[in-house]
């Protein structure tokens, strides 16, 4: 089990990455940060601060301090993130510097365990985080994130409500059989349950595995800082899709999600970190990572801020993108009136030699055209993946193996309940419906089995 009263610390960025994130959570997090950070920090207010961290008595290193105050943090406690660019040796020195009597190394999954215990996320979300950490391939991220968006939870909640309703009526039939009220007939109950069973079966059939996601084509949004690609990503993928947006001020580099189009699906990501003039080794590494990510993208959305006076920075950046298939997007179109917009679009075409699609995340102007464009690009690029062009893609939910098992069990129990109802054994049918309810509840927080909880949290890698 987990201690909750002390302060924990761990490296929470992937192993081997040069961009290092060190996290501290608990009462001593802020004091510890104060001790090693040189920059000006208002420790009463959450925010990002730039300065130097003491690695040891001689060496200090430039970096950023992210300060989150309880309860508005990932864990619900005071939380500090130290972002630096360093090598493993330096990181280790810094970490050992931080660890003392009052700060200890976090156990596997302990940050998330705290978040769960402090009511910051439900079990399904915690598990989604687990998936994120575990994914050897970054692309699994979106499957997990999809879950965070609560789509599965949403579907199961609806089914659960109907189960409860039906269960209530059947129970009333058992406990109030002396009243001259017919709460529900067997035929009605059977009909309701049969349709619920179909819904559950659809969840299973419509679900996609993480492996499928890995095989999916990816589409990246690139552009300068403030080109509007983050808002665009958010609006394309639907809100509330990432840990970032759920828990304000928690940082991540690459935002990804599953984008479902009329005829195709893809993994969509927002590629930050593309910098025009990399200075020093760190910036170069960051840029390399971004370029690498874009290279794997089948289609790239190249975003520019159409309201800018010139796009010199943008055109330099475009040279870095090594992808044959680029969709040119003029973001923030809402900032200009129609006349100006036409003029600016002309300028863009002349400057870049390509036509730009004007869009606005605010007014949603041009979004539909953009989606259609992405869809047609994907179909022409990967025809083998989409043999039946005209067949619309059904809405899908990514399921973990455990979720799949829960849904499959629910279906089995529903079948049993229906058969028992037909045989007049309402008392057995109601018990099976309780099982069904529990099956679905296991996906969320309710009726949580202690074993599952321990399993999940102990499977985490350290630092999340």
């Amino acid at each position: 089990m987990y201690e909750l009263n002390d302060t924990i610390a761990a490296v929470s960025s992937p192993a081997g990455s040069h961009r290092v994130i060190l996290r501290l959570s608990g009462r001593q997090a802020i004091r510890t940060a104060k001790d090693i950070f040189t920059g000006q920090v208002d420790f009463q207010n959450a925010g990002v601060y730039t300065g130097h961290f003491f690695i040891d008595q001689q060496l200090s290193i430039k970096g950023k301090l992210y300060l989150f105050l309880s309860p508005a943090s990932y864990t619900g406690e005071d939380l500090v993130e130290i972002h630096i660019y360093s090598n493993p040796a330096v990181t280790e020195t810094l970490l050992s510097n931080i660890l003392n009597n009052e700060v200890r190394l976090a156990g596997p999954g302990e940050f998330t365990a705290r978040a769960y215990l402090n009511g910051k996320m439900d079990l399904a979300q915690a598990e989604a985080v687990n998936e994120i950490i575990f994914s050897s391939n970054q692309l699994q991220l979106d499957a997990a994130e999809k879950l965070l968006a609560g789509k599965l939870t949403q579907s199961t909640k609806e089914i659960k409500t109907e189960i409860l309703d039906c269960l209530g009526n059947l129970e009333a039939g058992l406990d109030f059989s002396t009243e001259d009220i017919e709460f529900i007939t067997t035929a009605q109950a059977v009909e309701i349950l049969t349709s619920l069973k179909e819904k559950a079966e659809n969840i299973l059939q419509g679900s996609i595995s993480c492996q499928t996601v890995i095989d999916m084509p990816s589409v990246g949004a690139a552009g300068t800082v403030n080109a509007g690609k983050s808002s665009l990503t958010n609006i394309l993928l639907g809100c509330e899709r990432s840990i970032v947006s759920k828990n304000p001020k928690t940082t991540r580099d690459v935002l990804e999600g599953l984008l479902e189009l009329d005829h195709s699906k893809c993994v969509f990501f927002d590629c930050a970190g593309l910098i025009e003039n990399p200075q020093g080794i760190i910036d170069q590494l960051t840029q390399q990572a971004a370029v690498e990510a874009l290279r794997h993208a089948i289609v790239v959305l190249f975003c520019v801020d159409i309201s800018k006076p010139d796009w010199n920075e943008d055109i330099n950046l475009l040279k870095l993108i090594d992808s044959g298939d680029i969709i040119f997007v003029a973001a923030k179109a809402d900032l200009l009136d129609n006349k100006k917009l036409c003029a600016k679009l002309n300028q863009l075409r002349q400057f870049f030699g390509h036509s730009f699609l004007p869009v606005s995340s605010k007014t949603k102007q041009g979004l539909k055209e953009l989606l259609t464009t992405i869809d047609s690009h994907l179909i022409s690029k990967t025809p083998d993946k989409y043999p039946a062009f005209s067949e619309p893609v059904t809405s899908s939910i990514a399921l973990t193996a455990r979720h799949k098992k829960s849904v499959a069990q629910a279906i089995e129990n529903l079948t049993d309940a229906i058969n028992q109802l037909k045989a007049g054994n309402d008392e057995i049918a109601t018990m099976m419906l309780r099982s069904v309810y529990q099956n679905f509840s296991r996906i969320e927080q309710q009726d949580i089995d202690e074993k599952i909880l321990s399993n999940i949290f102990s499977n985490f890698c350290i630092g999340k």
């Binding site: 009263n5 129970e171 058992l174 054994n425």
Partner: protein
């Protein structure tokens, strides 16, 4: 020997008091039953019936524990019916219409003849305690009875106030005085006291009812006794009749709603949702054109009819008119008008799982005073309180039934963990182990447990042993004998097989010379076998939480990371186990994890 010194004093001679006094005396404690009048011992204040849905299961449990209720019902029953017969055996529920006078008399005689039990006609006014321990009970005349244990089973009598329309008067039951001092005494001892309300229907002179055209309801052709000690019921059964309200009556009630106490706003106590008054039904179900009313005889000779379903406290003239408009009662003479009653109770979160108050050692509460409704619920608590009062005297571990052992266990656990804001009535759906908590196996669930504490006498124990042996023999036979190529056992498991009906006619079964209950027990056991396992899995994990006891002195305010709501609720309910804590309203699984961490850290 001091005539005024007892091991245990039971205050109140209702259904809880009867079982408490009987259990305590039978277990060897020198017991006194204080009642205002001997002739009101075990009076059926409300409907003249025992059992019913879920309540029938409790009645069987009381009997299995060695209580009085089942024996008295078999002796005084006038119509026996197994309810829910069309559904599975887990929800079959025995119910009996009883002759209320014979029931009362039977129990009064039974208790009068008991060893160790003294019945004292006195009104208890004060419970005396020293150092938070019970020492004595004082009555209205100033007599002081010394005792280390007291069981309060005062039902609706504590500050009872009755009402019809806007007319209010003091009383614990019609024509009986209320007890006004005792709840003050409990409050002085530090217990919280609140108000609840309930109601009764009018009682009618049977000879003035026109039964022509009324639906007649008969008892079962082959009635099943309530008590394990009886093989069969050999009486001539009397019928009940069914009539219905109609839209004219509904209009009458709606027109006079402003004169009903529920509208007058005078009632402070919360009334039950489960047997709502007919006027409350007008508000709750405005679209229903009729409500069913059972006309139930109160005695074998059918002199008085209890109009079950017509709970009301509207003014007398409205009751008169209402009955004039109802088929069968057009010219009826009313023996007693329906009335409502409001009374003091003690919110049961103040109790330990063995019904002793947390505040005062040796003080037990049972029955309606704990916010329950119904004779069976009351009696079930009575027997538990009686047993535990004696175990306390003997310095033994308390007797607590789990949710997986008995409806009584479910009830007491619910009382201790739920917000009780209306009289608590048992439903089968409250029991997560419903398939196991059946009327047919109450004896097999509880007799051995009760034998251990000394409440089951040798006669019952011998009879029980015989039943078990027969069941085991039949099970062995069922696994061996094949019919049409399949064992009896396997056929019993099949939902489509009708073998259970034919079981008694199979030669090999006949040879075992078993009674119908033994045969039925095997058929039901096998039918449910697979599902009982599923049920266990469904509630698995529950048992582990149940085993983890929580320290009594834990202050949840000091448990770090516990949500505020959970802290508050847990400090009120002070659950005895982690399992109970998990059932307290507003406590989440995450809270339970936090408590576990706290326990590991500070309490191990």
């Amino acid at each position: 020997m001091d005539k005024k010194k007892f091991d245990c004093i039971v205050i109140g001679g209702g259904h809880a008091g009867v079982e408490a006094a009987h259990a305590a005396a039978k277990m060897g404690a020198k017991t006194a039953l204080l009642t205002i009048s001997k002739s009101t011992i075990a009076v059926m204040s409300c409907n003249p019936a025992v059992g019913g849905l879920a309540k029938g299961q409790i009645a069987r449990e009381i009997d299995a524990l060695g209580g009085v209720m089942g024996l008295a019902t078999d002796a005084a029953g006038i119509q026996f019916k197994m309810l829910n017969r069309s559904k599975g055996p887990a929800v079959h529920a025995p119910r009996a219409q009883t002759d209320r006078h014979r029931y009362q008399k039977w129990i009064e005689n039974y208790l009068t003849q008991m060893e160790n039990l003294t019945i004292i006609e006195a009104e208890a006014t004060d419970i005396l305690a020293e150092d938070s321990k019970v020492v004595a009970v004082k009555d209205k005349q100033g007599n002081v009875y010394k005792t280390p244990t007291v069981i309060v089973t005062t039902g609706t009598f504590m500050k009872g106030q009755m009402y019809i329309g806007d007319h209010w008067w003091d009383g614990g039951r019609i024509d009986e005085q209320a007890s006004s001092n005792l709840s003050d005494s409990l409050a002085r001892l530090g217990l919280e006291v609140e108000r609840l309300a309930t109601g009764t229907p009018p009682r009618l002179y049977a000879e003035t009812i026109n039964y022509d055209g009324l639906e007649k309801q008969l008892g079962d052709a082959n009635p099943e006794p309530f008590s394990f000690m009886n093989d069969k019921i050999e009486i001539e059964q009397v019928p009940c009749w069914i009539t219905y309200t109609n839209e004219k009556i509904h209009q009458l009630l709606v027109d006079n709603m402003h004169r009903a106490p529920i509208s007058l706003g005078a009632i402070k106590g919360t009334k039950p949702r489960y047997c709502p008054s007919i006027e409350a039904k007008m508000l709750a179900y405005p679209d229903k054109t009729r409500h069913r009313i059972f006309l139930e005889p109160e005695e074998r000779e059918i002199k008085i009819i209890y109009a079950n379903g017509l709970f009301t406290s509207v003014p007398k003239d409205v009751q008169d008119q209402m009955l004039k408009l109802m088929p069968g009662t057009e010219n009826v003479k009313i023996q007693r008008y329906g009335y409502g009653i409001e009374y003091d109770y003690c919110p049961p979160h103040q109790l330990r799982p063995w019904l002793e108050t947390r505040k005062i050692s040796g003080l037990f509460l049972a029955g309606q005073v704990n916010a329950t409704s119904g004779y069976e619920e009351a009696a079930g608590q009575g027997i538990i309180a009686g047993i535990n009062a004696v175990l306390k005297l003997q310095n033994k571990e308390p007797f607590v039934l789990g949710r997986n052992q008995a409806y009584i266990g479910v009830m007491i656990d619910d009382l201790l963990t739920k917000n009780i804001d209306e009289p608590y009535r048992m439903f089968t759906s409250r029991a997560e182990y419903r398939l196991h908590l059946r009327a047919d196996n109450a004896d097999r669930r509880l007799t051995e447990l009760s034998r251990e504490v000394g409440l089951v006498d040798d006669k019952r124990w011998q009879r029980y042993q015989n039943k078990i042996k027969g069941i085991e023999k039949l099970k062995t036979t069922a696994k061996q004998i094949r019919i049409d190529g399949q064992t009896i056992w396997d056929q019993l498991r099949r939902p489509d097989s009708d073998i259970s009906q034919k079981l008694a006619d199979i030669d090999e079964v006949k040879a075992l010379a078993l009674d119908r209950f033994q045969i039925e027990a095997v058929a039901i056991d096998v039918k449910y076998e697979g599902y009982l396992k599923k049920q266990d899995r469904l509630v698995a994990g529950f048992k582990n939480l149940e085993k983890q006891k929580l320290p009594a002195d834990i202050d949840y305010e000091t448990v770090e990371h516990l949500r505020r709501e959970a802290k508050q609720k847990l400090n009120i309910f002070k659950p005895a186990t982690l399992g109970q804590a998990s059932r307290v309203n507003g406590v989440t699984p995450a809270d339970i994890t936090v408590i576990r961490i706290h326990l590991k850290k500070y309490c191990s």
